[in-house]
């Protein structure tokens, strides 16, 4: 499209050409890049909010963030990280990698792909602008429970609802694109059970997205009508039920957190075999475990609500189902270890991040298992123990996963190797910082510190100070990462086609950087790597 336009209007200025290219692109690589930059930008904005939070919590007392403003920071930090960083980041990786990994020329619906992306800058501008509205931004936590969010929400709540709708539409359309691409555009010979695991985890994630984002849309629409059109979905006054909000929200919310991690699992399953120079252990098992996790994720939502007063048998059912999820998750971890076992490992930055992911995510999984036990949860619920849990699974989970993927694939995207020494510095500093920030939160939670509080009593002070120092360090590692990414884009040691000695898969058969159009004819599968015997790691 753009090429034709340039033929017809040869006088386009460089600026117009630039804008036309990026506004109108239907190329999966460019759209992937757009998603990744959007995610990275919002990562800094949401990260800055985290800095505000941690700075205020550095010491007891109110230093500079008044409670109302603090609650806005807490809310927006959560919303932006979930909807603006992790999700678009994974979609960006999906866009770049899925066509390359299945041997397709592009996504199945390229124009829809462009539309799905461009909704997001509008949605986030709307959401961020709420900070400047009268009454401030949403201040009721990213989980926006009624009636705090319905009856007592600030005027900006309605813009928040619109923003959520827009993000939801983007996600659903993107997910449809992913599924249609995977089902229809695989190169001949690549059956479903021969797909790379990253593609599998994204396929399952896409189904989760289509099933639960509309439920979120339903919930926020009910909020909107409760606020303005005299309905009483969540108001006891009109015969409604604030608890129903929680049930419907978490019916979305729990599968959502698996949406936030499954692609990360897929990334680990790509990287570890490459650097262990050994096939992924238990491919079939990994696929089934991922599917099991996804299915189970629909019947555990009540574990976010153990303190609301549900009957015993309901609490027990949710407890058992939640504990059960530990089984397929554990299977995945064991399979990664078995992949490493008796391999021949080197520890370049992608491998470091992948291994950090496995270890630290597992720690998050452990606190999750502890949270599942209802009586104990009465002491953990709504404390920093929960904050520790989800930050371990999200930061060393989703974020390390994304960073690992960037280090792994950026040589293919740009044709340049990143600076290995800097990459290692990034990794080790991030590991130290992440643990310094989030590990003490287990203890503050156990000691009795609730969540979402602007100020705390004195016995929590020491650990909060440690967390805040860790957070400052963590913030600095992001700047380093940005520097590394930009440096790599601008130049570096040239990357080969295969890039990594143990790499296997179709994406490693195209030149580095990957040309604008790849696989215009379907490639042979399994691919021939390096003129030697073909070793398909994904059989």
């Amino acid at each position: 499209m753009v090429a034709q336009a340039e033929d017809v209007i040869p006088q386009r200025s460089p600026l117009m050409a630039f804008m036309a290219r990026w506004l109108l692109t239907t190329n999966h690589k460019e759209i992937g890049t757009l998603y990744l930059w959007l995610s990275f930008t919002l990562f800094f904005i949401a990260g800055a909010m985290a800095m505000v939070i941690r700075l205020e919590l550095f010491q007891p007392g109110i230093q500079f963030a008044e409670p109302l403003f603090y609650n806005q920071m807490v809310t927006m930090h959560g919303l932006l990280m979930v909807f603006g960083v992790v999700m678009p980041g994974f979609v960006g990786l999906a866009n770049w990698q899925i066509p390359l990994m299945i041997g397709a020329p592009d996504m199945a619906l390229p124009r829809l792909n462009n539309f799905s992306f461009w909704i997001l800058p509008f949605a986030f501008t709307l959401l961020l602008s709420s900070l400047f509205m009268d009454g401030g931004a949403p201040n009721f936590g990213w989980t926006f429970y009624a009636p705090l969010s319905t009856t007592y929400g600030p005027p900006s709540t309605d813009y928040f609802i619109l923003g959520v709708h827009m993000m939801g539409i983007s996600s659903v359309l993107g997910a449809i694109n992913v599924i249609v691409t995977i089902f229809n555009l695989r190169t001949p010979g690549m059956t479903l059970m021969k797909m790379p695991l990253f593609v599998w985890t994204w396929l399952i994630t896409a189904f989760l997205l289509i099933m639960v984002m509309p439920v979120l849309a339903g919930v926020v629409t009910m909020m909107l009508t409760d606020r303005h059109f005299d309905t009483s979905f969540f108001s006891a006054a009109g015969g409604g039920d604030p608890l129903m909000f929680q049930h419907v929200f978490w019916f979305f919310g729990h599968p959502e957190v698996y949406i936030l991690i499954l692609p990360g699992f897929g990334i680990a399953s790509q990287i570890i075999p490459t650097f262990a120079r050994k096939r992924l252990f238990g491919y079939h098992s990994m696929v089934f475990a991922t599917a099991a996790i996804a299915i189970l994720s629909f019947i555990v939502w009540g574990h976010h609500m153990f303190a609301v007063g549900m009957p015993v048998w309901v609490e027990l059912s949710f407890m058992y189902a939640t504990m059960l999820i530990a089984v397929p998750t554990g299977v995945k971890v064991f399979n990664w270890v078995a992949t490493m076992w008796r391999g021949s490992m080197t520890f370049e930055t992608p491998m470091l991040f992948a291994l950090g992911f496995v270890i630290l995510f597992t720690i998050g999984g452990f606190s999750g298992l502890m949270l599942a036990l209802v009586p104990a949860d009465f002491q953990y619920h709504d404390t920093f123990f929960v904050v520790a849990h989800f930050h371990y699974v999200l930061y060393p989970g989703a974020i390390f996963g994304t960073m690992a993927a960037v280090y792994y694939w950026i040589p293919k995207w740009t044709g340049n190797m990143y600076d290995e020494r800097l990459g290692k510095i990034h990794f080790w500093t991030a590991v130290i910082a992440v643990n310094l920030t989030f590990f003490p939160m287990h203890f503050t939670g156990l000691a009795g510190m609730p969540r979402r509080i602007v100020d705390y009593s004195l016995q929590f002070a020491d650990f909060n100070m440690v967390s805040s120092v860790g957070a400052a360090l963590l913030g600095m590692t992001q700047v380093l990462f940005l520097y590394i990414v930009i440096k790599t884009i601008r130049g570096g040691e040239k990357a080969s086609t295969r890039v990594w000695e143990g790499a296997d898969g179709l994406e490693w058969t195209v030149p580095s950087p990957a040309p604008h159009h790849t696989f215009e004819t379907p490639p042979a599968f399994p691919p021939i790597m390096d003129e030697n015997e073909s070793t398909s790691l994904n059989e």
């Binding site: 015993v312 027990l316 009586p375």
Partner: protein
């Protein structure tokens, strides 16, 4: 990476770890034992799950670290070939299931006991609102509000913080030892959550619904907790304080409360019969305002944006008196402006309304009498 002798490395590690010893002095690492049977069983459950996680972690991470060392390319140049094993998959699916069952059993029995609220010895109705608790003793028919008493000067770092910073209230809940106490929780506005870690009781307070929980306290003492569900601006500022007394002392306390209730209704009558002057009401009004109203409307009356309207020069304090009285006494539904009639006495309401109408440049010269408030109730 950096090469150094083993000895040097050990010294540095020790020094690094030792530097944490100053921290451990003032911190807790473990979930507390608490003062009820249930809280102890919950601590046991916590220890059990933690132990399982640590052991599994040691095994899994141990295997990983071993592999990282033994199977690195420099030491293990030829990677093995295997990539699946049905037996192994079955084993590491079944064993975790068995471990989980081992954890689920004590969790289930403990939960069944916790959720058995039958046959209490006394019942307390806990009503949450933004941002305080109301406790009502159903059998004894006494009730009172429990508000945070930490001075704002401490919160704003103008004074050093007291030992019980943010965990101190004017009227704690008083309970007897060794009686099964049933807690009924509800809310007047948004969802809050009543939590006392030492009792291991956490129960959401939901508007329009009542929930129940129970505890039997083993020993006397002062126990502190907090609201555990985000409920708006001052979520961090509504602590729970429970004073547990031996039974005989508790009974005496109940009698004292009943007496105090009669006395205060006597006081209220005296207040109504007197005609108060502006000079008498303004200081009382200012005190009430700073305690209850300033957190939202600011001590200078300027408010905070559209959410907490300005009173200085505001429409209502300078407008018709009945509207102002109605707003303070009955609140404004659907906003955080609550009805103050249940919590404040006639004198306090009269004083604070008078103050609002004559402070910060407002000059209505209105003086509101307690008997006017009484007549409006």
């Amino acid at each position: 990476m950096i090469s150094m002798s083993n000895g040097l490395r050990n010294c540095l590690t020790l020094a690094f770890l030792a530097s944490f010893s100053t921290l451990t002095f003032a911190v807790e690492f473990d979930l507390r034992e608490g003062v009820t049977d249930m809280s102890r069983r919950i601590q046991d459950l916590h220890h059990l799950s933690l132990a399982v996680c640590v052991v599994v972690g040691i095994i899994v991470f141990g295997a990983m670290f071993y592999s990282i060392v033994a199977h690195r390319r420099s030491r293990h140049p030829k990677p093995a070939d295997f990539h699946e094993s049905l037996l192994v998959e079955i084993v590491w699916t079944t064993v975790p299931i068995l471990i989980l069952i081992g954890m689920a059993i004590p969790a289930t029995t403990t939960l069944l006991e916790i959720e058995d609220n039958s046959d209490p010895d006394l019942t307390i109705l806990i009503t949450a609102s933004q941002w305080k608790w109301h406790y009502q003793y159903l059998e004894a028919d006494i009730g009172f509000y429990s508000n945070l008493t930490t001075p704002t000067a401490q919160i704003n770092n103008l004074e050093p913080k007291g030992e019980n910073y943010l965990l101190e209230v004017d009227n704690p809940l008083v309970l007897p030892t060794n009686k099964k106490v049933r807690f009924l929780t509800t809310s007047n506005d948004v969802i809050h959550s009543w939590w006392v870690p030492d009792f291991a009781v956490k129960q959401d307070a939901i508007p329009g619904f009542i929930n129940e929980a129970w505890a039997r306290l083993d020993q006397p003492g002062l126990f502190r907790g907090q609201c555990a569900e985000l409920c708006g601006k001052d979520h961090a500022y509504m602590p729970v304080v429970v004073e547990v007394r031996l039974e005989a002392e508790f009974d005496k306390w109940i009698d004292d409360q009943r007496l105090a209730k009669e006395l205060s209704s006597g006081q209220a009558v005296a207040d109504r019969n007197k005609t108060w002057t502006m000079a008498e009401l303004m200081p009382i009004g200012e005190q009430v305002f700073l305690t209850h109203c300033a957190t939202c409307h600011e001590s200078t009356g300027v408010g905070q944006g559209v959410t907490y309207p300005a009173l200085a020069g505001g429409e209502i304090p300078n407008g018709p008196l009945e509207v102002h009285i109605d707003r303070v006494m009955n609140g404004r539904g659907g906003t955080e402006m609550q009805s103050w009639a249940p919590q404040l006495s006639d004198r306090e309401l009269a004083a604070v309304i008078t103050y609002e109408r004559n402070a910060w440049g407002n000059s209505t010269a209105d003086v509101v009498q307690p008997k006017t408030i009484y007549a409006t109730r």
